[in-house]
């Protein structure tokens, strides 16, 4: 590999973003553009018995007001399916405005189209709706007694119970020591800076172009095609820049198709941008949930049994739970294990992905319980985890494709200064502040799409290259990292390579979700570029006018765009010389990667890390301030040190936020979120952000994909909240078993 891979290259789109040259989906100027605004249901449950649009329809600038009475029916009943599969990716198995039933507050009940956003908003406020309300349930506690065990969750991809290991109940019964702990989690919302926005443009041939803020352009294309009853060939999706997503744009929600339907109705391009308030009601959320952990261990801390049960609120349409049990099930070598999900139905949109989906809550529960175990038996929390280290996957007995967790503990402890920690809680004071430290393990599955992933590389006669794959850039740095992968594969300097994504015209890559984006895109990019390189080398050695004529292709290397003999670098020529001499305008290859899925391999694939936190608690006023965070992760190969560290840091800040700030609070009387704004839903500001130290352990992984990339999008958040809560206990002696931890918990 050349040094370009992993280098801290500045973002290739950085200048365009900071100067405003980068255009987001809601910023495109189109002739005759009209603006749509959704009107959401104000009640969580009932029927619309009257909807009066007369005032709204005659308001200034209004083109149309659509309701369930006149909106064309969609061609198919959508079915929830995670976008990683690469197929249709509806966020829920329900499409609104098909009848008069209201299932959740904020459910779209009308679409107003006008010549300006302001006029559309105003007309929306004039739509008069009469509801026949029916009783609703919007909190877990209201329907807990009606909970059921789902056969499968997560669009049918995950069983409702994990397979048992051993005999967990007798494991618990026979253990020298047991803990039985319950953890509660507030609902969370993703809150990307850019609100979801779609612009729909129909042409004269009934073809549709959608400018959509999405994590997966193809997911948008296929999902909208299904609902409109159109072949995907008639729908083109463009999504060059997306202003963050964190799961809000991972699946395709109704507003996208509603925009297309509205545009067809008014016969002009239509843009719809959700308001911040609507973002809380329109693209899912991390569900309110409770998790129970039972641990059985011996006096030395060796786990004999672990059970992990989750109960959470889902919608009336889908058996959705974020998959909180996967990593906790395999993090430690507990011989006996059981885990399962229970769901209760409420008047909510179907919950969905939120950063660190599943593991951010599941590992909080496990790692908080492990800290209690360490404290109970009086051994160091790091030592407890080392004693239970899973040398192989405890579920399957397979070896890990790569791990690096021991190294993460060791390096993290060094960077943090963990050694010599006094374990006694509530004994360190600095003025009014009580100081505490805590740690936790981070774990996240290595996911991959289930379909082939493709990329195309085309070299022009001057030796410059454009590489293409249909990904969107939603802030991760993918365009930059893929430029590096391409330059590495071709032996070119990065400024000779342009990586292009953002439309469904390009070779298809699945939506970048679940930390799978870097692996899913780098693999076909690498294959396309190395195939192109090899093809040109073969052509050179076959060309009697080439200095490389007759050489063994295996003896040829490429550096800075020049093919030469490895042992005699003075013998060679550039790509441009070869192409120019032969009058070849361009050469093109398509790389296709068939992802490696767990059942197909003899290896278990997972990403690990270690988190350390220091907090200061002013228990007199109930304040917790995080002073230091250290995270060390083993995410396989790093494609760009700078963007990878940014991703990991962002994840850790999400963990801090989950620990101390984030909660969407449901008012069961109104059935609506009571703090649906960025003033009331708190995320950290710069003043909350402490010193953050990040390091990575680069573990070679020959299994997961060609470059050994395991992803950095999610692992950073996992474990941070547990490390902080454990530090709060160390500071104060108080165990808080719910998130977020706020002032009233510590007074």
């Amino acid at each position: 590999m050349s040094p370009v891979l992993g280098a801290a290259l500045d973002r290739v789109d950085g200048r365009a973003k900071v100067t405003g040259a980068a255009r987001y989906s809601g910023e495109l100027n189109l002739p005759n553009l009209a603006h749509a605004v959704l009107v959401g249901a104000r009640v969580p449950s009932g029927r619309i018995i009257g909807i009066d649009c007369r005032q709204a329809s005659v308001a200034d600038g209004v083109h149309t007001v659509l309701t369930h009475l006149d909106l064309p029916r969609v061609a198919a009943q959508p079915k929830l399916f995670p976008s990683l599969a690469g197929l249709t990716a509806h966020g829920q198995s329900f499409f609104p405005m098909q009848d008069d039933v209201v299932h959740y507050a904020g459910q779209p009940i009308a679409v107003v189209v006008a010549d300006t956003v302001e006029r559309a908003e105003y007309a929306g406020s004039l739509v008069q709706v009469n509801y026949a309300e029916t009783p609703s349930a919007t909190l877990l506690d209201q329907v807990r007694d009606q909970a059921y065990e789902p056969q499968r969750i997560f669009g049918g991809l995950v069983p409702g119970r994990n397979p048992d290991r051993g005999d967990p109940e007798s494991g618990l019964r026979d253990a020298e020591l047991t803990l039985d702990l319950t953890y509660r989690f507030a609902a969370n919302h993703q809150n990307p800076l850019e609100m979801s926005t779609t612009t729909a443009v129909w042409d004269d041939l009934d073809r549709l172009t959608l400018y959509d803020s999405t994590q997966g352009p193809t997911a948008t294309q296929l999902s909208v095609a299904e609902l409109l009853g159109l072949p995907p060939t008639r729908i083109r999706v463009v999504s060059h820049f997306v202003g963050g997503s964190f799961g809000a744009k991972a699946l395709i929600w109704p507003h996208v198709t509603l925009t297309a339907l509205a545009a067809r109705q008014v016969g002009r391009p239509v843009r719809l941008t959700l308001s911040r308030d609507q973002m809380f009601h329109s693209c899912g959320h991390r569900e309110e949930q409770e998790q129970r952990i039972r641990l059985g261990a011996d006096r030395n801390g060796r786990l004999a049994a672990l059970t992990h049960d989750k109960i959470s609120l889902t919608s009336h349409f889908d058996d959705w739970a974020e998959t909180s049990l996967e990593s906790p099930a395999i993090t430690y070598a507990a011989p006996n294990y059981a885990g399962g999900y229970r769901l209760a139905r409420g008047n909510t949109i179907t919950p969905t992905f939120t950063r660190g989906p599943g593991e951010a809550t599941g590992m909080f529960a496990l790692e908080s319980a492990m800290d209690e175990l360490a404290h109970t038996i009086g051994i160091d929390p790091v030592e407890l985890r080392l004693r239970n280290h899973a040398d192989v996957d405890p579920d399957t007995g397979k070896p890990w494709s790569s791990k690096g967790l021991r190294e993460c503990y060791q390096r993290g402890a060094e960077l943090f200064g963990w050694a010599g920690r006094d374990p006694a809680p509530g004994t360190r004071w600095e003025g009014r502040w009580q100081i505490g430290t805590g740690m936790a393990t981070a774990a996240y599955p290595v996911a991959a799409p289930i379909s082939p992933q493709r990329a195309r590389a085309r070299m022009y006669i001057d030796g410059s290259v454009v590489v293409e794959a249909g990904i969107s850039e939603f802030g991760t740095g993918a365009l930059t990292a893929m430029t590096q992968v391409a330059a590495d594969g071709l032996g070119l300097p990065v400024d000779r390579v342009r990586f292009v994504g953002g439309t469904t015209d390009l070779p298809n890559v699945a939506a970048a979700v679940g930390s799978a984006g870097s692996g899913a895109t780098s693999s076909p990019v690498h294959l396309a570029c190395t195939q192109l390189r090899d093809q040109l080398v073969r052509q050179a050695v076959a060309d009697q006018h080439s200095p490389l004529h007759g050489a063994d292709p295996a003896a040829v290397v490429v550096r800075d765009g020049r093919m030469c003999l490895r042992d005699r670098p003075e013998v060679g020529e550039t790509y441009a010389e070869l192409l120019g001499r032969n009058h070849i305008p361009d050469v093109e290859t398509v790389g296709t990667w068939m992802p490696v899925l767990a059942p197909m391999t003899d290896y278990a694939m997972h990403t690990f890390g270690a988190q350390f936190a220091e907090v200061a608690v002013d228990a007199d006023l109930g304040l917790v301030r995080v002073r230091r965070l250290v995270g060390v992760f083993a995410p396989g190969r790093i494609l760009n040190r700078k963007t990878a560290h940014s991703q990991l840091m962002g994840g850790m800040l999400w963990g801090l936020s989950q620990a101390l700030l984030e909660a969407t609070r449901m008012d069961p009387n109104t059935g609506r979120w009571a703090n649906a704004s960025l003033a009331d839903y708190l995320v950290p500001v710069n003043a909350d952000v402490p010193e953050i130290t990040i390091d990575t352990i680069e573990v070679p992984d020959p299994v997961v994909n060609p470059l050994g990339v395991k992803g950095v999008g999610e692992i950073g958040i996992v474990g941070t909240s547990a490390a902080i809560a454990n530090a709060v206990h160390h500071a104060t002696g108080r165990r808080i078993r719910h998130l977020p931890i706020t002032v009233e918990d510590l007074l």
Binding site: R42, D60, E118, E121, Y122, S125, D277, W429, E430, G431, R432, D620, L621, G622, L623, R625, L660, L661, R665, M666, D667, N669, T670, R672, A674, N675, S677, A679, D680, L682, P684, V685, N686, A687, D688, T742, V743, E744, L747
Partner: protein
């Protein structure tokens, strides 16, 4: 956003005349609250009269040690003004702990006095709210009310007043100068803000068309060491869960004078007169501070999620008093609390 007409005026008389002529009109200064409320259809003015060009930006020292602050002076300018920082640090601190730098650069002092509650039900036009639509009820009484008031509430409204600055001004006995169709008035800050009572929609003791032109802070030598303490979930850009503005004079270990006002806890910027009367003449000790805090919160009424605010309010008072008096006994020599 509702259709709205907009005009800019250059003198006070025209401003007052324009607004008075149209009951659906209102003054517009920095707009950081008004425009926000217009956009979510909570404020429903059809005419906005922009007063940013009025000659009301001065921050002047008054003879004897007071300060006069023009109504359209920006929060950021007032926070940095030397006379304010020197004579009334509590004002500067309250301003700098409020909002964000961008908002402080826009928001005016007069507008700050007029800012509306952050109660989520007030801001949600689909919810019942007596403050927004009298007679519809109060959703907060049994709703999500973690941030709501425990002092000065009524059965009709428990919305917290969001102010930081006004808490300091109430403590300092500042005077709000207004001008309206009926002429000039001077209103004590404590009287400027109204308790919700039976009319939570009435928040200020001024009438339509009456314009805040300035705020005057009278001389108060002990205010030169005054402080503002703000307790909140995150370090910046959040309204107070509890706050205290305090100035104290001590002679021979005894409190001779004290001003104390609370934010985040009450339906208006809350002058803590009960606490003040306990403190005056009492030794400046933690026991006195606790007794004062207990007295002030004795009448507090919780509503579910906000019950913690009663204890938090007590501790905020004690912390503010012990900080401003430099009481070292909160932490003993070995660094541990007593």
């Amino acid at each position: 956003m509702r259709p709205v007409s907009y005009s800019r005026v250059a003198d006070v008389a025209t401003a007052i005349g324009t607004v008075t002529a149209d009951p659906g009109s209102t003054f517009l200064a920095g707009g950081t609250n008004e425009v926000d409320l217009q956009r979510i259809h909570v404020a429903r003015s059809r005419r906005l009269v922009d007063i940013n060009d009025l000659p009301l930006r001065q921050i002047e020292e008054l003879p004897g040690g007071g300060v006069r602050i023009g109504a359209v002076a920006r929060m950021s300018d007032v926070a940095q003004a030397l006379p304010v920082r020197r004579r009334f640090p509590v004002i500067s601190q309250a301003l700098l702990l409020g909002a964000s730098p961008q908002l402080r650069n826009m928001a005016s002092i007069g507008g700050n006095m007029m800012q509306r509650t952050r109660c989520g039900y007030f801001r949600d036009v689909a919810a019942a709210c007596n403050k927004r639509e009298p007679g519809t009820g109060c959703s907060a009484l049994t709703g999500v009310n973690r941030g709501h008031a425990v002092l000065g509430t009524s059965e009709h409204c428990i919305a917290t007043h969001p102010a930081d600055l006004a808490v300091a001004l109430v403590a300092l006995d500042a005077v709000v100068l207004t001008q309206g169709p009926a002429g000039h008035r001077q209103i004590l800050a404590d009287d400027f803000f109204l308790l919700p009572g039976d009319t939570p929609d009435r928040e200020h003791a001024i009438s339509h068309g009456e314009l805040v032109v300035a705020v005057e802070v009278p001389p108060l030598p002990m205010a030169s060491t005054s402080i503002y303490l703000k307790v909140r979930d995150r370090e910046s850009y959040e309204f107070a869960l509890a706050s205290a503005a305090v100035a104290v004079a001590i002679d021979a270990g005894v409190v001779t004078d004290v001003r104390l006002a609370l934010g985040g806890l009450a339906t208006k910027p809350w002058r803590a007169r009960q606490a003040e009367s306990v403190l005056v003449g009492a030794p400046a000790t933690i026991e006195s501070f606790r007794a004062a805090a207990d007295a002030e919160l004795a009448g507090a009424v919780p509503h579910g999620m906000n019950a913690y605010k009663i204890e938090l309010g007590r501790r905020t008072i004690v912390r503010a008093l012990s900080t401003v008096t430099g009481d070292a006994r909160m932490v003993s020599d070995d660094g541990n609390p007593p």
